[in-house]
Point group: C2
Chain length 97, copies 2
């Protein structure tokens, strides 16, 4: 989850939504220095948010959705807090009583 706290890494994931991309492509798409891009990718890797595939010299990155799915599960327990006017009302009433 800490890996997602960096905006640049979220932008990387956003880029990867279009599909597998090489480190260099991401680097240029986001205007990062080569080492910076590589380090952010390492952070995403260690968080399990991306998987890597070798293609000759290049490393092709793609989204691994598992941690995002876990986050979604975590969020699910909070969803009733904002989901719809009826839920809000229900919650309010629940408190009143």
């Amino acid at each position: 989850m800490a890996a997602l706290s960096d905006p640049m890494r979220r932008r990387m994931l956003d880029e990867l939504r279009a599909g597998e991309q090489s480190a260099g492509t991401l680097e240029r798409a986001l205007g990062l220095s080569q080492p910076s891009a590589s380090k952010h990718l390492r952070a995403l890797r260690q968080a399990g948010l991306v998987r890597v595939r070798k293609d000759a010299q290049r490393r092709l990155y793609a989204i691994d959705p598992a941690p995002l799915a876990a986050l979604d599960v975590w969020l699910a327990d909070y969803r009733h807090f904002w989901a719809g006017a009826l839920d809000a009302l229900a919650h309010h009433l629940e408190r009143e009583v």
Copy 2:
């Protein structure tokens, strides 16, 4: 989002799912020192994740779901990565109701 990267703060939110609670209650529930608890609550406050209400000396904290809803929106664009057709349907129905 950085506010959520701290596990203790996530535990605080989990505690607050049960409803409004005072700083001291949270502090004891999580076994934190008083200043530590207060600082984590400040972080949550600055992130807009909680709202505070004064009750005499106590400060009663409650979840403000807005940032979590924003996170949910962000996640939505990734959901198709892990949601099989059936899951997606289930999720959709869950929201509809």
